[in-house]
């Protein structure tokens, strides 16, 4: 009774599955589609490790039901690279050492990617504001901000 057929476009491909009502989007992505680049951090809507783009906007996929994504577009960190070429945001994190452990990185990059789509030349303040729902517990934010700036300059 509580199963639903859903069709979600994930990183450009249509994916269909039968899911339980209560299945979270992050579990759908990680466990059913095996897209494990999306991380589970706090699991309580705080940390942003599970950030994905839903119809182009960054959201916390631990706080969205898979059924809510039915008929919509999801982009995960696996969708950033195109034809073997890193997206400028990935290049930025690589060049500016925008990570240490890497746990927050997929979420940080997707939030940064969405910011640059809307605002190609953000100020430092705008970058810090945009990533304020993504927590990093090791590098601090200095290099993450530099990474987004790097991407903005080269995009």
């Amino acid at each position: 009774m509580a199963n639903h057929k859903i069709r979600v476009t994930v990183n450009g491909s249509a994916r269909e599955a039968e899911v339980e009502s209560r299945l979270l989007l992050v579990h759908f992505l990680r466990e059913m589609l095996r897209l494990t680049g999306t991380h589970i951090g706090c699991d309580t809507t705080h940390c942003g490790a599970c950030t994905v783009l839903l119809d182009g906007r960054p959201v916390k996929s631990c706080t969205v039901l898979a059924v809510q994504a039915d008929g919509r577009e999801v982009m995960t960190v696996e969708g950033l690279e195109k034809d073997g070429k890193l997206d400028p945001i990935q290049e930025g994190f690589f060049q500016e050492h925008g990570l240490q452990c890497g746990y927050c990185t997929p979420g940080m990059m997707l939030t940064g990617y969405a910011l640059l789509k809307e605002n190609a030349r953000p100020t430092e303040g705008e970058i810090r504001q945009a990533i304020s729902g993504n927590l990093c517990r090791c590098t601090g934010y200095v290099n993450i901000v530099k990474a987004v700036q790097h991407a903005a300059e080269r995009a």
């Binding site: 809507t45 906007r57 706080t63």
Partner: protein
Amino acid sequence: MIPAPFDYHSPKTLSEAVALLGHLGEGAKVLSGGQSLLPLLKLRLGSAGHLVDIGRIPGLEYVKEEGGYLRIGGRTRESALEHSDVVKKRYPILADTAAVIADPLVRNMATVGGNLAHGDPANDHPATMLALGAEVVATGPKGERTIPIEKFFTGLFETALAHDEILTEIRVPKPPPKSGGAYVKLERKVGDFATAASAAFVVLGRNGEVERVGIGLTNAGLTPVKATSAEKALQGKKPTEAAIAEASRLAAKDASPSPDRRGDVEYKKEMARVLTARALKKAIARAEGA
């Protein structure tokens, strides 16, 4: 964390949604943005037999001035409110509020109607809407009815909405000339609930006196608090430093916060006083500039 099992419904129209809620009874909950409801279900602080998702019903997301009001569709995302031009220009108190709700990612899902209908005194819109004297529109089996915001919050996580009603619109009266509002929040970090927060809306009279004032407090009781004694003290007075100080002192008396990790009662009341003074000063400065 995984919520207890429930069934999910995704009606395509408002009337279908209302009929479903009526048919499913008290065990059904409305799912709007889900940013309060889903954490609650995941933590198993609450449960629901059925979720009725209003996410696919057209026409519930808008922000527009019409017929003497700013009309906000119930499912309007907080991020849309925050970035709305009319809000930034004419209702800065609402932009202040939306910008400090949770974090930018949560605001991409969270909805204005949900923030009110959840009935959580820690949410930010209730105080602002109390200060503004807003009304909410509830759509149920008999059609629409309007509820003044002062009558909307009936208890902790309880509102005047019947189980088969959906909050479909919020109406904020168009600001008169020489009016202004502000929302000031103290939070430990981005994404936290308010340690204390105050919303103030003032209308200045011909001689610069306070013709009308609304003050709302966040996280200052079991329901959102309208600081009526503070409002009364300021009404009709020139907004001098002393009058603002007195109103703010009374606002702290109107507050009855609970102690938690954010602070004890004395500290929270003191913060309610300080933040009310700041909100009033900002609101008055905006009214003078209007």
